[in-house]
Structures are given as structure tokens and as C-alpha cells.
């Protein structure tokens, strides 16, 4: 177990496990945290996992962990690793089984006061229209041709099919279509799992929330994003569903027996990887890109359903039912990006597992508005606590390969959470604070109770103090919709 004394403070909020800690480390391992957070993190094996990541071939500068770090499998959740594109590797486990799990934020044109009387009906309608929980299918049953088109063309294809507006595209990371996607690199088994899952939320920590803007930290940036106090927004958190899970399973299985042949020694089999120059790595990146397109399409389909519910419930009351996308950002992905390493621009494969891209102004990957102000970063909190909209900074690019945290980060197991609080208690507590809950599973509510997570305010505070992103607004939930 790595202890607090093994970490060296580099500067405020940055701690380092030096390369000398273990002889197989190629680079140091860095953590963004406070002293107290580090003491809490020491209770699990996440730092040991971060050290394992630092042993991977081609890793640049350091393996990184965000303040919401917690124990995962292979990589820790909240882990970041940037690999040299020529000498490095890509690790499917470093992306995770839920490829392009991510968050989308929709801006309404109404205030908390205006929706107040119709909130329950609206949340209930969304819950009816967006299937959630394990094994629930969506209304779309894609033909093989349709699924291949969506895998390769992403959200623009969904819009062609009638599920969205043309202007949605530029407000999605990569315009909702990651280059290099190849549907033929995805097994028929993965496609069979995904063919009826577009527009479904899934279970676990995935959710949909109706929220209101509670606090504004940067008035100018908030105005640029069209956010003012009490404005209602909708947050969607889900990923690539069974299709993405199967793609990761397939590629980990394929890579594990080849590791020795590539001369790679792994500290953990779940770090299975392939040198980026190999066919196996190229195939994985093409399959991962296609899965990412599927995930963006999933959030697009959910957006379509939310817009439908919004219209059905709110239009009869004379309210403006427009919902615009503020941004849609992935937090499980490996992306080819350019970053500065030792004073030189370098092509890297940046793994973010439970970590969010947070580019500052000027990056060509962003649309015109966000090139000017920086990329919105969406940080969901837990049920009943706060979520945040941040803006990426140029400092983040220099320090963390343009990356910040992805949420609060779990601090208690599901079992422990259930022993401490019951589902009905969680529901009662949320309802007493005016938060409407649509969730059929009491145990699901208990497992995802706010006490099971770190304090998102502290996590975001570290990110801001470390200058990785700027706080723009805080969001508070009005209604929570989740599977189980």
C-alpha cells in the first residue's frame, strides 16, 4: 500500500510519487489533491494502480490522477496517461468498458419558477420516454446498415435520421463523430448488444437531471454560455451501453495473449495494451472511435426524447420549449492529440479514464465560440448535491494534457452505502429539499446516495486552485431520473 509519506509535494494541490518508488516506473505518478484527500485516497489501491500506469511503454511526463480518483481495475478511475504516438501503446482498459461514457448539458429557455408547477409531470414524462435500468431496450431497432452508418458517422447520421437539429453538431466534442471510426472493426456480437440500445440510460451512476443554475462565478462566461441564475438545464450522463462493453471485452481478450510477443511486461493484466504502430492498436482505435460515435448518438437520441417530453408537457402552458446543447463531453476515451512535451509539440495518444478533456481557448478542435472562451467542462455531482460547468484553461494543456476531473468520485462501496442509508430515506431527504425523484429502485437510490461520494465542491475547488479549469456556474438538481 502506498502511504502518504511516499508522496512528495510539488506545489499546492500537486503531489508526486517519484520514479524511484518502483524500478519498473518509466515516469513519476502525479495526483491533484489536498492533503486530506490524499489521506482518504490511501484507503484504497488507486495510487498503486496509478504507479502501474506509470510503467506502460511510451508514457510521457507522468501518469496523472485527478482529485476524484478512486480504485478501478487496471487504471484508477480519474486516471490520465499520454503515450508517445510512435513509441507508446494504447490500452483498452485505460479507456474502460463504457467507451465514451460522458455528459451532455442542455440549456432551456425557461426559469426554475416557470417550470415549478410542471416539474413532476415533465420528469415523469422523461422517465417514460427514456428507458433506464438493466436490459431495457429503446424504441429504435437498428438494421445492420443503420448501425454501421451510426458507428461510422455518429451524430450527423442521427440528425439525418430526424433525431436532432443541424446546429446540435458543433456543440458536441468532435462534432459527435470521431475520425477513423470503422464499423468493420466491431464484432457482430457487439452490434447485437447495441442494436436496440440507442436512447437508453442504463443503470448504476447513469442519470438524467433537471437542474437550475444556482450560483454564477464568472458572469461573462456564463453569459457566453447563455446561463443566468435560475435558468433550467438538463444534464444527461450515460455512455455506449452494451456495444461499448463488448468492444472493450473483445479487444482486451485479443491483446492479453499477445503482450509477451510485444515484449511488454504488465503490472496488471487489465492494463493489456498494444503498441500504437501495430494492426491490433489501429483496429482498437477504429473500433473505439465507432463506439464513441455510438455513445454520442445515444445521448443524441436521449436528447430527442427529452425535447419531446419538454414539448408535450410544457408547450400547452405557453412556455418556450427550445432545448439547446451547451456541450457534450466524453470522460472515458483515448484520443490522438498534440501537446507540448519538453518544449516540443508531440503527437500523443491521451487516455482519459474517468477524466474530462478541458481545452483552453485557441484549440482547433473546438467550435468558434469555444475557441474564443475555452471548452465547457461538465462535472456532475451526486444526487442532491451540486454539478458544475467549468471552462478549460491553457494551463491545463501545459499541466495535465488538457484534462480535469469527471465527477465527485466514489468514497464508499455500494454495500457500505446501503448499510448506512436506505433508499426510502434518500428519497425522503431529497424530496424534503424539493428534489423530485423518478427511480423505481430503492436500493439503487441508496447505492448512489450522496454520502457514498466525495464532496464535489472540494474536488472542483482543487481543479480550480490548480488552474486546470475555471468555475462558471454551479447547478442544483430539481428532479433526478435514474434507472436502478
Amino acid at each position: 500500500m502506498i502511504e502518504y509519506k511516499d508522496l512528495k509535494k510539488i506545489k499546492d494541490y500537486i503531489f508526486e510519487i517519484p520514479k524511484s518508488y518502483r524500478k519498473d516506473m518509466r515516469v513519476p505518478a502525479r495526483v491533484y489533491a489536498t492533503e486530506q484527500m490524499l489521506k482518504d485516497i490511501g484507503g484504497d489501491r488507486s495510487l498503486w494502480q496509478l504507479v502501474n500506469v506509470a510503467t506502460l511503454p511510451g508514457i510521457q511526463k507522468y501518469s496523472l490522477a485527478m482529485p476524484d480518483i478512486h480504485e478501478g481495475y487496471g487504471f484508477p478511475i480519474g486516471g490520465v496517461a499520454a503515450m508517445d504516438f510512435n513509441e507508446g501503446v494504447v490500452s483498452p482498459g485505460g479507456v474502460g468498458y463504457d467507451i465514451n461514457c460522458g455528459v451532455r448539458l442542455l440549456r432551456s429557455h425557461i426559469s426554475a419558477d416557470e417550470i415549478k408547477d410542471y416539474l413532476r409531470d415533465t420528469a415523469h414524462q422523461i422517465n417514460r420516454d427514456v428507458p433506464s435500468g438493466v436490459g431495457r431496450s429503446g424504441e429504435l431497432d437498428l438494421t445492420p446498415g443503420q448501425i454501421d452508418a451510426i458507428l461510422e458517422k455518429g451524430v450527423p447520421e442521427m440528425i439525418k435520421m430526424g433525431f436532432g437539429r443541424e446546429e446540435d453538431i458543433e456543440f458536441i466534442e468532435e462534432n459527435g463523430c470521431l475520425a477513423g471510426a470503422d464499423a468493420s472493426k466491431i464484432s457482430d456480437r457487439a452490434k447485437r448488444r447495441g442494436h436496440d440500445q440507442l436512447g437508453t440510460l442504463g443503470s448504476g451512476n447513469h442519470f438524467l437531471e433537471i437542474q437550475r443554475v444556482d450560483e454564477i462565478y464568472d458572469k461573462n462566461l456564463a453569459e457566453e454560455l447563455g446561463l443566468e441564475k435560475d435558468r433550467v438545464v438538463v444534464m444527461i450522463h450515460t455512455g455506449s451501453r452494451g456495444l461499448g462493453h463488448q468492444v472493450c471485452t473483445d479487444y482486451v481478450k485479443m491483446m492479453v495473449p499477445k503482450i509477451d510477443g510485444w515484449g511488454i511486461e504488465l503490472a496488471d493484466r487489465e492494463l493489456a495494451c498494444a503498441p500504437l504502430k501495430t494492426k491490433e492498436a489501429k483496429d482498437y482505435l477504429a473500433a473505439m472511435a465507432a463506439s464513441a460515435n455510438f455513445a454520442w448518438s445515444n445521448r443524441q437520441m436521449i436528447t430527442h426524447h427529452v425535447r419531446g417530453a419538454w414539448k408535450r408537457i410544457l408547450e400547452p402552458h405557453g412556455l418556450d420549449v427550445t432545448l439547446d446543447i451547451i456541450y457534450d463531453v466524453a470522460h472515458n476515451m483515448a484520443k490522438v492529440e498534440e501537446h507540448e512535451v519538453d518544449g516540443e509539440k508531440k503527437k500523443l495518444c491521451v487516455h482519459r479514464k474517468g477524466a474530462t478533456r478541458a481545452f483552453g481557448p485557441g484549440r482547433p478542435e473546438l467550435n468558434k465560440l469555444y475557441q474564443r472562451i475555452g471548452q465547457p467542462v461538465l462535472i456532475p455531482g451526486t444526487m442532491g448535491t451540486s454539478s458544475y460547468v467549468l471552462i478549460g484553461t491553457n494551463e491545463a494543456e501545459a499541466e495535465s494534457f488538457g484534462t480535469v476531473c469527471h465527477g465527485a468520485g466514489r468514497r464508499m462501496s455500494r454495500g457500505e452505502a446501503k448499510r448506512k442509508i436506505t433508499g426510502p430515506e434518500v428519497r425522503k431527504e431529497l424530496e424534503s429539499r424539493g428534489i423530485h425523484v423518478e427511480c423505481a429502485s430503492s436500493r439503487g437510490l441508496a447505492e448512489e446516495a450522496p454520502l457514498a461520494y466525495k464532496d464535489v465542491d472540494n474536488v472542483v475547488d482543487v481543479v480550480e486552485q490548480a488552474k486546470l479549469a475555471k468555475r462558471v456556474v454551479k447547478l442544483k438538481p430539481m428532479a433526478v431520473i435514474k434507472g436502478g
Binding site: D44, H70, E71, G72, Y73, G74, I77, G93, G96, Y97, D98, G133, V134, G135, R136, R189, R192, R193, G202, S203, G204, G242, H245, Q246, C248, T249, V252, K253, V256, P257, D268, R269, E270, A272, R410, R411, M412, S413, G415, E416, S441, R443, G444, G484
Partner: protein, 134 residues
């Protein structure tokens, strides 16, 4: 003999599975995986599902066997509580999974991971620790 037990894990599902021999270990792992996620069973009409699994490793074939069962469960909406092995070789399995149709599960297993996975000999036979991504 205890078939399996759920171990504490911060974010995912970890189970320890026991068996007097490999066949029993695999059967108990299957049972442990599906019981842990609590199937919502529609009917008790058994549905056998034929599977074929091959693996490069005598040890890792347990992970691959469970991954195959998970795949079958997801596409057919079934939960499996038993297995009849037709061929049970170190790196190849042909078997019939026995299960019920389900509406869904209370918990979703995204995948069976190789993280910290091992099969170990004990005085009573074999045991394996398995972590599932949920």
C-alpha cells in the same frame, strides 16, 4: 461447501468463488455472477443456451466463459444459474447454460475483468477472485 461470497470493493463487484474441481468452480462462478446482480425473473421455464468458448490460457478461460455468459444474457434477456458441460478442456469449453428469461437485473455488469484475477488451490479444491465492472 460454500459456493461463492461477495467481497467488499469500493466501486465494482468482487466475488470469491469456490469449487472442489474446475467444473464446479466454473459453475459456481456463473451462479455467483448472476445471483449477485439479482435477476428479475419472468418465468421458471428453463432455457438452455449452447456456448463455445476458447481461450489461450487455462486460467483465463474462466473469465472468457463468464464474458460469454454475460453476452448471451444481454442479447437474450436471460439469467443463468446452471451449466452442463459437453466439452471441458483446459482451453476449450462447449456447454449448455441453463437459465430463465428475465425482465432485467437490478445491477448491470458491464464486463468481467482480468484485474487481480487468479485461480488458486486450497485444501478443499480451488478458489478464484473475480472483479466485475459495474
Amino acid at each position: 461447501m460454500e459456493k461463492y461470497k461477495v467481497l467488499p470493493h469500493l466501486a465494482d463487484l468482487k466475488i470469491r468463488v469456490f469449487g472442489r474441481d474446475r467444473k464446479e468452480l466454473f459453475a459456481n462462478a456463473l451462479l455467483g455472477m448472476f445471483e449477485s446482480i439479482e435477476p428479475d425473473i419472468i418465468s421458471r421455464e428453463e432455457h438452455p443456451r449452447k456456448i463455445e468458448v476458447s481461450s489461450k490460457s487455462e486460467e483465463l478461460i474462466l473469465v472468457d466463459f463468464l464474458s460469454e455468459a454475460l453476452y448471451q444474457s444481454d442479447v437474450h434477456n436471460e439469467s443463468y444459474h446452471g451449466v452442463k458441460f459437453e466439452i471441458f478442456e483446459p482451453t476449450k469449453i462447449i456447454a449448455h447454460l441453463i437459465g430463465y428469461p428475465v425482465k432485467g437485473f437490478r445491477e448491470e455488469i458491464k464486463a468481467v475483468t482480468y484485474h487481480d484475477f487468479s485461480i488458486n488451490k486450497t485444501k478443499d479444491g480451488l478458489e478464484a477472485n473475480i472483479i466485475f465492472d459495474i
